[in-house]
């Protein structure tokens, strides 16, 4: 019983950290490329860490809780669909990729990052019925790769150093 309580507590803490990271990231000045609004996806460090340290359920739970809270606190309902699509697609790809055991956290995270953006672009293309939005993927794939590398390295570091 104590182990379970401990785990729930830690997951709660991780969810909070993820939420704070999301907030901080939203407050940071935008890094313009061709598409302003590009983000690193700092909260995904937590999700990646949880995926490796615990498993799919824990990672998914924290990811969804973070999304819901972030949307309620500093977002709008429209944003929810985009974030949700990105997070679900990204996590699915990461789970599959991780199981293949071909990449380290970096490779898994890179694919996670790219597919996160792809998920959001697909939703935008669907909701706004504009296929041309797909063209943003050229830039978003690039930023997804870079962010994925950064997040992947961060996740590897946490996995090594955090005794939790």
């Amino acid at each position: 019983m104590r182990e379970r309580t401990k785990k729930i507590t830690f997951l709660g803490l991780f969810a909070t950290v993820a939420l704070i990271l999301a907030y901080v990231e939203a407050m940071l000045p935008p890094i313009y490329a061709a598409v302003p609004g590009i983000k690193v996806g700092l909260p995904n460090v937590v999700v990646l860490f949880l995926l490796y340290r615990y498993g799919v359920k824990e990672a998914a739970a924290v990811s969804l809780v973070r999304l819901a809270l972030a949307t309620l606190l500093f977002g709008n309902v429209t944003m929810l669909w985009y974030s949700l699509a990105g997070a679900v697609l990204s996590l699915t790809v990461m789970v599959i990729t991780k199981r293949l055991r071909v990449f380290s956290t970096v490779g898994v995270s890179v694919l996670g990052g790219v597919f996160h953006n792809l998920g959001q672009v697909l939703v935008a293309m669907l909701l706004l019925e504009t296929a041309e939005i797909g063209y943003y993927m050229f830039v978003l794939a690039f930023s997804g790769i870079l962010a994925g590398i950064f997040i992947g390295l961060g996740g590897a570091f946490l996995l090594k150093k955090l005794p939790l």
Partner: protein, 121 residues
């Protein structure tokens, strides 16, 4: 396992860069800006006529400007302001999107792309 990561990144980067190069090399200048609100085409503007139009949607307001053959959003009351920060567009396939307001401005061309340039009688 690190080596596979590098190969993955290299391949993905190559695809992204090559795809982008190909795409931009085939881009042509457009002559009309199409406005879509919530997925529905609402208006068309010729890029050759300087215009200013305030777009009112149920979710907010955007000011579309057409100037010197380019279209851009001058101001908007959306929380992220990405549409305003976007640089002016003028080539076919380019878009300026305001996600919170569900506004899309895209450039199209009325000139038939694959019509013959000349027909010899």
């Amino acid at each position: 396992m690190k080596k596979n990561d590098l190969i993955l990144v290299a391949i993905l980067l190559l695809l992204a860069v090559a795809g982008f190069a190909l795409f931009t090399s085939f881009q042509t200048e457009g002559d009309v800006a199409v406005l879509l609100i919530d997925g529905e085409e609402t208006a068309r503007f010729s890029l050759s006529e300087n215009t200013e139009r305030v777009i009112e949607t149920a979710w907010g307001t955007n000011t579309l400007v057409i100037e010197d053959g380019e279209a851009y959003v001058r101001e908007a009351d959306c929380p992220d302001g990405i549409c305003v920060a976007h640089r002016p567009i003028s080539r076919v396939g380019e878009t300026v999107v305001c996600l919170p307001h569900r506004v899309v401005i895209k450039v199209e061309t009325t000139v038939a792309q694959d019509a013959p340039d000349m027909v010899v009688q």
